[in-house]
Structure formats: structure tokens, C-alpha cells
């Protein structure tokens, strides 16, 4: 029996739906992103060295990040869909066919979680926000990495196992209101061709005429947005037109633990839990790097470590924030869940299970931080672009209007607080649902230690957004 979902389906919206159903929709979105990417590289390497006047830094650190988190909040992982790196990779694969299979030991999120943390570290160490040159090289390095990895290895290895931006998007999109999903599960039951994952070949079986999901997500078994790049190959591939972009309650996928196609059970994936923790604690750490108290801590650590170099000091802060702090906090909560609430799970499985409850809070912090830069500075793109055009010889767009910025801070700060409240609410809800699903004699007691962590992190996040911002690129200066 068939029962089509009654959820909102973006693909059925006039115009937008038609655009997304179009076979070349992804390329259509990728081409402008690629052009912008090339402009950013050229301007980053050849344009003004001052970050606020350069398109590479302005677009990367003000507009891209802000638009990314807002898009994830309001829709879904549309930035992966429009990823320009993938377009270049597609072109390259016409010339070079990958031959190798990604090593089994690397088919997890450990590498990408480490790379995600490394990107955050490099961002602070080299003050990427203040360097157009380094920002441009970061984009170039991204293009190079994807060409090398996906040039050698089959399928979408870079997206699934390597790309730090993609991992950020995957984790954040667990909170998105839209999901690429089967419309009617009943339609999939008799399906024997499974085009959504296998793709389609021509009559001779030699040429792929339609790809299936390169990230190994089989639509009928897919649950949630984890690992979904919104490439919409499955939409194109399904011969029954049974895949849509459907609405769902944000964070719902964090509350349950079904077996997910291409992923397995969240509760058995410590690597994804580690990624979720880097995402959450990294959000606080990234914001901490921009406020005054970090410099006092750096000076204190430098004295304690007897060093004048930034790398060991910053490295210590990262180890404390991304490893020691989560291990201590979650370890203590897991221990209390076992001892006080009577959970029969071991400590590590408990940590893995409840780590996902912190994701909404982490996303709230990323939203608060990145939307601040975006909303207070989105108009700066106008004078920076005017200046870039004028530097070509003729001020075609007029003289740069440097006084244009964005919404005043006093209006953005309440919004930041709102994002944090939303994050806390989401985390408490997810955590509560997880305790209800637990086979625990005292679910309420299990809830308290994890809720306490959520509250503690939330207080830290609120404290952070009310700290005086101090955008510095100098260490201990």
C-alpha cells in the first residue's frame, strides 16, 4: 500500500521546484560559485593586502560563512549542492578516471573531524581572516586536494570522508528543516532497479547516463541529512519520481537511532560523535578566539610554557577545548548516568549516544557568531567590489562607498541571543528524547547531568557573545 508523505515538498513549489528538478540545476548553481571562487583567488593573490578591502577575505569570512549557516537554518545543505569544487572535479574526471578504492580504515569521520579541527587551528594561527593571500591559497589548496583525492579514488570520497566544510554542513544540516527524502515508501518496496543508488546505464550497459548517490545513501534506507550533499542525483535517477525535498522537524534525526543507509547507527559511530563534539566545542572555541579574554589566557599560557611562540600556546588551548574539556564533561555525565540513573550502557557508548544532543547548541553558537559578522557587514561587499572594479582602471560601479556596512550591532545582539536560546532549547529537547529512549530505570536522573552540560555550555556561549570583541591578528602584542 502506498501513502505519499503530506510534508511540504520544495520540488513541488512552482519555479523553484522546476529549477531543482532540472537535470542541470546543480551545474547552473555551481558555475556562478566557481566564477566567484576564481575572482576570490585572483583578488586574494593580486588585490589589496588589507583584508577589509579584498574580495577573498570579505567574501570568505563575512559573506560565505554567514550565508552558509543561515541557509542551513532556513533550508538545508544547499551550499554543498552548489559546491564549485565539485564542478571542477566533474570536469577533471572526464580526463582522468579514478581507479582506486578509498582505504577501509579511512572510511569514517576521524580524518575529517581532525581536518575540521585543523582548519580552525590554522584559521587562528595564521589569522586567515586578516590575510587575503593565505585565504586565496586556502581556496587553491581546496581545489588541489579535491582534484588529487577524487582523481585517484572512486565515488565522492572527498565529500564523504575528507572535506571539513562538508562535515560542518552535514552536522549542521541535521537541524535543517528540509531533507532529500522518499515521498512514498510504498513505491520503493517493489523497486528492483534501485537507480537512486546504482544510477542508470545505457542499453549496452557501458555508459553511465545517470549517476546514483555517490555518497552511498540508498534513499529508502536514508534517514536524515548526514552525508547528503543535496546533489539531487537521486531525484534525477528515480524512475518513479519518488524523491523530493521534504520538510521535517529540525533536529528530529538526532532524537532517534535508526539504521541509516551509508552510515549505520549513530549510537555505534564514535567517529561521527567526535565530529559532533568538534562541531560543538569548536563553535565556542572559534568565538573565544575573537574576544578579549583569549589574549589574557594566551599570555598566561605562554608564561607557563616558557615560550614566545604562538603555535604551542594555541595548540594547548585547542587540546584543552576540543579534547580535555569534552572528555571531562561528557565522561562525568556518562558516569553519573550509569551510577545515579542506573544506565546499563558503558561509558563510551553513553558519550557517543548523548554527544548528538549538543549539536543544536553548537549550531546556535555558529549561527550567533557567523550571522553577527554577516549581518553587521553584509553591505561591505558593495564598496569592496566597487574598489576591485575601479582598480581595473575604470570605476564602472562608481567610487567605493566605504561607509556602507550592515545592521548596527545593537540590533544584531538580541538575534544572537535568540539563536543561542534556540540552540539550548533544541539541545535540551534532543537530550530529553534520548533519555526517554534509553533503557534506564531513572530517565529523569539520566537527563539532569546532560542537561547541566547543555546549560553550562550555553552560559559560556552567552558570556562569549557579550564579551568585547577584539579582532586581533597579533599574538600577545
Amino acid at each position: 500500500m502506498s501513502a505519499e508523505s503530506s510534508a511540504f515538498d520544495l520540488l513541488k513549489v512552482p519555479l523553484i521546484g522546476r529549477l531543482f528538478r532540472w537535470r542541470h540545476a546543480r551545474t547552473f548553481l555551481q558555475i556562478p560559485m566557481l566564477v566567484v571562487g576564481i575572482v576570490m583567488i585572483v583578488h586574494g593573490l593580486c588585490g589589496p593586502t588589507l583584508a577589509p578591502k579584498n574580495l577573498a577575505t570579505t567574501l570568505s569570512w563575512v559573506h560565505f560563512r554567514g550565508a552558509l549557516v543561515l541557509m542551513l537554518l532556513c533550508a538545508g545543505n544547499l551550499f554543498c549542492m552548489a559546491c564549485p569544487f565539485m564542478l571542477v572535479r566533474q570536469w577533471a574526471r572526464r580526463l582522468f578516471r579514478p581507479r582506486f578504492i578509498w582505504p577501509r580504515k579511512l572510511r569514517n569521520k576521524w580524518l575529517s573531524a581532525a581536518l575540521f579541527a585543523l582548519i580552525l587551528f590554522v584559521y587562528e594561527l595564521f589569522d586567515l581572516w586578516s590575510s587575503p593571500w593565505w585565504t586565496a591559497w586556502l581556496i587553491v589548496a581546496y581545489f588541489a586536494a579535491i582534484l588529487v583525492i577524487d582523481g585517484f579514488f572512486k565515488h565522492a570520497v572527498f565529500c564523504k570522508f575528507v572535506c571539513p566544510i562538508g562535515q560542518f554542513n552535514f552536522v549542521a544540516s541535521t537541524l535543517s528543516p528540509l531533507e532529500v527524502k522518499v515521498r512514498d515508501e510504498g513505491v520503493c518496496v517493489p523497486c528492483i532497479t534501485k537507480d537512486c543508488i546504482r544510477g542508470r546505464r545505457d542499453a549496452a550497459g557501458l555508459v553511465v547516463i545517470q549517476r546514483g548517490c555517490e555518497l552511498a545513501l540508498f534513499q529508502p534506507g536514508k534517514s536524515g541529512n548526514m552525508d547528503c550533499t543535496f546533489c539531487l542525483e537521486c531525484v534525477q535517477a528515480c524512475p518513479h519520481d519518488n524523491v523530493g525535498i521534504l520538510s521535517r522537524p529540525p533536529a528530529s534525526e538526532l532524537m532517534t537511532d535508526p539504521r541509516r543507509s551509508g552510515i549505520g547507527y549513530f549510537s555505534r559511530r564514535p567517529d561521527i560523535a567526535a565530529l559532533a563534539l568538534v562541531f560543538t566545542f569548536g563553535a565556542l572555541l572559534n568565538a573565544f578566539g575573537m574576544v578579549s579574554p583569549v589574549y589574557a589566557l594566551e599570555r598566561w599560557l605562554a608564561r607557563a610554557l616558557h615560550t614566545g611562540h604562538e603555535a604551542p600556546v594555541l595548540g594547548s588551548i585547542f587540546v584543552l577545548s576540543l579534547i580535555v574539556e569534552p572528555v571531562l564533561m561528557l565522561g562525568l555525565a556518562a558516569w553519573l548516568t550509569r551510577v545515579w540513573a542506573g544506565s546499563r550502557r558503558a561509558t563510551l557508548p553513553l558519550i557517543v549516544r548523548y554527544a548528538y544532543g549538543l549539536v543544536p547548541l553548537g549550531f546556535g553558537m555558529w549561527l550567533a557568531h557567523y550571522s553577527f559578522h554577516f549581518l553587521t557587514g553584509f553591505l561591505t561587499l558593495i564598496p569592496v567590489t566597487q574598489n576591485a572594479v575601479a582598480s581595473l582602471g575604470t570605476p564602472l560601479l562608481g567610487e567605493p562607498l566605504w561607509t556602507l556596512t550592515g545592521i548596527p550591532t545593537r540590533f544584531v545582539q538580541p538575534l544572537e541571543l535568540g539563536f543561542l536560546v534556540l540552540g539550548l532549547t533544541g539541545s535540551l529537547l534532543v537530550t530529553y528524547r534520548l533519555t526517554q529512549d534509553e533503557d534506564t530505570p531513572h530517565p529523569a536522573r539520566a537527563f539532569i547531568p546532560w542537561a547541566a552540560i547543555c546549560l553550562l555550555l550555553w552560559v559560556a556561549a552567552v558570556w562569549l557573545i557579550f564579551q568585547p570583541m577584539e579582532m586581533r591578528a597579533t599574538f600577545m602584542g
Binding site: T58, W61, T376, T405, M471, A473
Partner: protein, 97 residues
């Protein structure tokens, strides 16, 4: 030659005074130059501050700029000499508190 300094040191949030001394190759002060000042933060997305330096003594120019928030700033000085020649100098002002 352009010599530039800023006061107070260390720089603080609020108004700062930029002093420039302009001299030619013979060491003589350069008079009647026009000097535009601009202060930018090291992070993109922030509004720059603008000012102008006026001649207060022979070859000595002073202007004021507002550092509106803590952090690293870069002060740009755009000098237009009496003959129309244009020069630009940049001064980093780190650790404004």
C-alpha cells in the same frame, strides 16, 4: 619622506591623534599637502573610519581618527603633494584596547 606616529600609545578605543612629518629629498618640510586618513580593522566586514590631517606647523600635519573597537587596526595615509603627486603610507596599530 613621511614620518608618522600615533598617540596615545598604547592605542585605546576612542579618538587618536595621527601626526605626520613630510619632508623632501633635501630634508626641507613639505607644506600645503593634503592628507586623508583612514583606519581599517584587520577583520573584513567592519566600517572604516575616516579623517583628515591638517598642517599645524611647517611640514607637520595632524588629524584625528576614531578607533571604534578593540583589536588590530591599520591606518592608511593618502598624501597629495602640492604638485599633485600622490603617496600612500600604511601604519599598523595593533592591540587597541
Amino acid at each position: 619622506m613621511i614620518e608618522a606616529e600615533i598617540a596615545p600609545r598604547p592605542a585605546r578605543i576612542g579618538l587618536a591623534t595621527v601626526t605626520l612629518r613630510l619632508s623632501d629629498a633635501a630634508g626641507q618640510p613639505v607644506r600645503q599637502a593634503r592628507i586623508a586618513l583612514e583606519a581599517d580593522m584587520s577583520h573584513p566586514g567592519m566600517r572604516p573610519e575616516f579623517g583628515e590631517a591638517r598642517e599645524v606647523a611647517a611640514g607637520c600635519y595632524q588629524g584625528r581618527l576614531a578607533f571604534t573597537m578593540a583589536g588590530d587596526w591599520v591606518v592608511l595615509m593618502r598624501v597629495t603633494l602640492p604638485g599633485g603627486q600622490k603617496l600612500e603610507r600604511q601604519m599598523e596599530v595593533n592591540g587597541v584596547r
